[in-house]
Symmetry: C2
Subunit: 335 residues, 2 copies
C-alpha cells in the first residue's frame, strides 16, 4: 500500500487535531507542516505536536520551503474561513500540481463569494492536474451534503429544511467566544450585522443545496440575532450574567418565485437543551431525519477533512464541490 | 441540454413506475422498453403505461431488437433480484457499450454471490466503456449507503447498527405476500430458511458496509423468523388470523476476531407500530440517526434508480459500487 503524503497548513487547534489524526492513520505519511506565525515557524514538529513519530520535521513558514525538500500528495488546509485567502495561500501547491483539502467555509461553494477566482483556480487546477475541495461538518455535511444525499431517494423535492441546535457549553473556548458569550446584546448585534461574528458558511450551504437541486434562488433572506441569557451561566471559559449574550440564532432561507425552497437554521448557545440536527425534506416521499445530540463539532470536522482525501485524489483535476466526489466515509485503511 | 436516452428493461410494477418517473423528467427521453413476457411484447407502450408521450413505441422482447432501432445511453433494469440473471440479461447492452442502472439486490455487492462474474463483467465494461451499478432503498440506501455516508464525519468507527421497522400494512400486495402474510409459521419458516422467502440483499448491505470500512468479516450470522399475528389483521389484500404469519424479522451481523462490527436488522410486518429507520454508529464521534416513519419503499426505490443515472454516466467504465459514484441526489434538471 502506497501511503498518501500529506502536509498540514495551519497549526491552530483544528490543524493540530488534523495532524494528529493524519499521523494515526496507517495510510497517511506526514511530510511537512506550515504556519506563517513566526512564533511557530522553525520549531520541531514532534515537540510542537507531542507526536514522536514526527521527529525530524520542523514547522515551515511557507509551502515553497516544504516543496524544496519533498512533494506531498495533498495539503490539509485549516487556516482561514475566507475563500480568497485560502486560494491565495494554496496557489503554490496548485501550481505545483499538489492537491488541497480545506476546511475553508467559503470554499464549500466558491462561486458564491469569489466567482471570478473560481474560474481562475479551476482552470489552474485543470492545467496542473491538482484537485481542490472544501469539507467540514457545517458547512460541509449537516446542512448540505447530508440533505442532498437524502434526496437521492426522492422522486421530487419541494422544500428542504435543516435545523441544527448546538449546546455550546460543551464546545471549546474559541467557539464560545465566536457566539458572543458574555458580550452585551447591542455590541454583539452590531458585530453580527457587520459580518464580524457568527457562524460562517450558512449561505454556502444554501448555495450548494440549491445547486444540487437545480434551483435558481431569486431571493435570499438571512437573519442573525443574539440569544440572551435568562439566568447566570458559568462555563469552563466564560461567566455570562442575565441579559448578556450566550449564543446566536442564525437563519438563511432561499426562495424561487416567491415560494421558499430551503430553510437553514442554526441555534448555537450555552446550555441549549436537547441539541440535535434535523433535516425535513418535503417531497415524494417526505423524509424526516434527526441526529440526536447532533454531529459533534471539532472531531467530526477533522474527520471529514481526512476522510475526503482518498475521494479527492480519485476525482478529476479541478476546484471541486463535495457533491462531485464519491461519498466520503471513515477511512482507516485504503482499499 | 442533451437528453439522456433510456430504455426500461422489465415492466412489472417497479418497472412501470420507473418508466413513468423517467418520462416525467425533462432530462430523460424514453427510447424503448423490454419485457420477455410474450403477453407484453409487441404491445403499444403508450397504451400499456397510459403515457401518451410514449406513442409510437412498442414493448420489445429483447434488448437486441431495441438496439436495431436506437442506441440508448442507459438501460433501467428492474427484472430480477439475482446478480447472475441480471448480468446475463444485460450482456447485450454492456457488449454494446450501453450503461445499466439496476435495482437488482444481489448486484449491490456482486463479489458476494458471483465473484467470478464480477471480474468477467467488470472487464467487459472496461473494454466497451459501459458502466453498471445497482441501487435501491434497501439494499442501496438505508442499510448501506446512508450509514457509510454518516461515517464520513467519524475519526474512527467501532460498530454500525441499523434497524429498519416497516409497517407492511401500507405497502403493495407483492410485499405483503413476500413477507408471508396469512401463511402458517411452519410453512413460512421452511421457505425462509430455504432462501425462498424474505428480504433479499441484507448480506449485500453488510458486505458493502464492511468493504467501505475496510473490515474483513470472519464470521457472519444470519437469522430469519416469521412474525406471528396476535390479533386478526385485515389489509387491502390479506386476512391474517391469530397465529398466522404477518411478517418477517431478519437480522444479519458480521464480526472480526470475535467482536461484532455490523448489525443489520429488519422487521417488516403488518401493523408494525412506529415504523422507522435508525442508524447507530459507535465511534468518535458517536452518531444516532433516526428517520421517523422510515424511507418509503417503492417511490424511493424508483427515485434512487433514476437519480443514480447522471452519477453513473459520469463514472469511469466498469461494474461499479454505489460508493464509487458521486453521491446521488434528486435530479429534476441536469446541470
Amino acid at each position: 500500500m502506497k501511503k498518501v503524503k500529506v502536509a498540514q497548513f495551519g497549526l491552530g487547534p483544528i490543524g493540530l487535531a488534523s495532524l494528529q489524526l493524519a499521523a494515526s492513520n496507517p495510510w497517511m505519511e506526514i511530510v511537512g507542516a506550515i504556519d506563517n506565525d513566526p512564533a511557530k515557524a522553525g520549531r520541531s514538529l514532534a515537540e510542537f505536536t507531542g507526536l514522536g513519530s514526527l521527529d525530524g520535521l520542523t514547522v515551515s513558514p511557507t509551502l515553497e520551503e516544504v516543496f524544496r525538500d519533498t512533494q506531498p500528495d495533498v495539503i490539509l488546509h485549516t487556516a482561514t474561513s475566507r475563500a480568497r485567502a485560502t486560494l491565495e495561500q494554496m496557489r503554490p501547491a496548485l501550481e505545483f500540481g499538489v492537491s488541497v483539502a480545506s476546511t475553508c467555509e467559503e470554499l464549500i461553494f466558491p462561486k458564491l463569494k469569489v466567482p471570478e477566482l473560481f474560474e481562475e483556480y479551476h482552470a489552474l487546477c485543470r492545467h496542473t492536474g491538482a484537485r481542490m475541495v472544501a469539507t467540514g461538518v457545517n458547512p460541509g455535511f449537516v446542512m448540505d451534503l447530508l440533505p442532498i444525499c437524502l434526496t437521492g431517494v426522492c422522486r421530487s423535492v419541494d422544500h428542504i429544511k435543516v435545523e441544527r441546535i448546538v449546546d455550546a457549553t460543551t464546545r471549546r473556548q474559541p467557539l464560545q467566544a465566536k457566539i458572543g458569550s458574555g458580550q452585551s446584546p447591542a455590541e454583539f448585534r452590531t458585530k453580527l450585522h457587520a459580518g464580524k461574528a457568527g457562524h460562517a458558511g450558512l449561505r454556502e450551504s444554501l448555495a450548494l443545496v440549491a445547486h444540487a437541486m437545480g434551483w435558481t434562488l431569486d431571493a435570499i433572506d438571512e437573519r442573525s440575532e443574539p440569544v440572551v441569557a435568562r439566568h447566570e451561566i458559568q462555563t469552563e471559559f466564560f461567566t455570562v450574567a442575565i441579559g448578556q449574550v450566550c449564543g446566536i440564532h442564525q437563519r438563511v432561507s432561499g426562495s424561487v418565485a416567491g415560494v421558499e425552497k430551503i430553510s437553514l437554521e442554526i441555534q448555537m448557545y450555552l446550555e441549549a437543551p436537547a441539541p440535535h440536527d434535523t433535516i425535513v425534506i418535503s417531497g415524494r416521499p417526505n423524509l424526516n431525519m434527526t441526529i440526536a445530540g447532533g454531529v459533534a463539532g471539532d472531531d467530526a470536522t477533522v474527520a471529514s477533512l481526512i476522510n475526503v482525501v482518498p475521494r479527492l485524489l480519485a476525482a478529476p483535476a479541478g476546484l471541486r464541490l463535495l457533491t462531485e466526489l464519491a461519498v466520503p466515509s471513515c477511512v482507516r485503511v485504503l482499499a
